[in-house]
């Protein structure tokens, strides 16, 4: 079975600063996908960024980037130039090739003006 651990229940960052959210996972699968999702207080989950495990290059999406360390089973999210709208709960998720997903318990991020 897969497990996903987010060790930071809460974090805060000043507007325009950079913050990194941690995620580690455990799996025996060799082919899988990793995701970061954002869930604002309105509760609709939105994909932030995805990473295919077979790709060595770290994924980037505008202000969002990941540090994927496959051997260490680590998948952290870096948010640059933080904005007030980034305030939300962030979930790290693992998807095995067959489609089943496992989510961490989330990190609540607060961006302060």
């Amino acid at each position: 079975a897969q497990t996903v651990t987010q060790s930071q229940p809460e974090m805060s960052v000043q507007e325009a600063e950079t913050v990194t959210l941690s995620c580690t996972y455990d799996t025996s699968e060799s082919n899988y996908y990793l995701f970061w999702y954002k869930q604002p207080p309105s509760r609709q989950m939105i994909l932030v960024i995805r990473q295919e495990a077979y790709k060595q290059q770290n994924a980037t999406e505008n202000r969002f980037s990941v540090n994927f360390q496959k051997a260490a089973k680590s998948f952290s999210l870096k948010i640059s130039d933080s904005q007030l709208g980034d305030t939300a709960m962030y979930f790290c998720a693992f998807m095995k090739h067959g489609g089943k997903s496992t989510f961490g318990d989330g990190t609540t991020l607060t961006v302060k003006p």
């Binding site: 509760r43 609709q44 989950m45 995805r50 489609g99 089943k100 997903s101 961490g104 318990d105 989330g106």
Partner: protein, 117 residues
């Protein structure tokens, strides 16, 4: 509708009653997922459909939970003899394809908040 929709948005029921929760995926999405999210936790996988068939139902907690997707589009999650511990937000997601590749991004609905009194 461009997104995943779920009805009802809120459901209050009494212990022991039967409930049905509905999910309308994005048109053309072959994969559909159900999750349960308790307060302060991440979504917990329940079941995954590829087309009409349940490709993985290993997350269903017991035989009181059942889900169908008869025509490969709309899905219904059915809970019999509800218990207070079933109270949670039930999330549905769909993706163009369920397996590997670029098309496995999941699009989530707003959820149904189930309260069992």
């Amino acid at each position: 509708g461009a997104g995943v929709s779920q009805t009802p948005s809120n459901k209050v029921t009494e212990k022991g009653k039967y409930v049905e929760l509905r999910c309308d995926p994005i048109s053309g999405h072959t994969a559909l997922y159900w999750y349960r999210q308790s307060l302060g936790q991440g979504p917990e996988f329940l079941i995954y459909f590829q087309g009409t068939g349940a490709a993985d139902d290993s997350g269903l907690p017991n035989d009181r939970f059942f889900a169908v997707r008869p025509e490969g589009s709309v899905s219904t999650l059915k809970i019999q003899r509800t218990e207070r511990g079933d109270s949670a937000v039930y999330l549905c997601a769909s993706s163009l394809r369920g397996r590997g590749g670029r098309n496995n991004e999941q699009f989530f609905g707003p959820g149904t908040r189930l309260t069992v009194l």
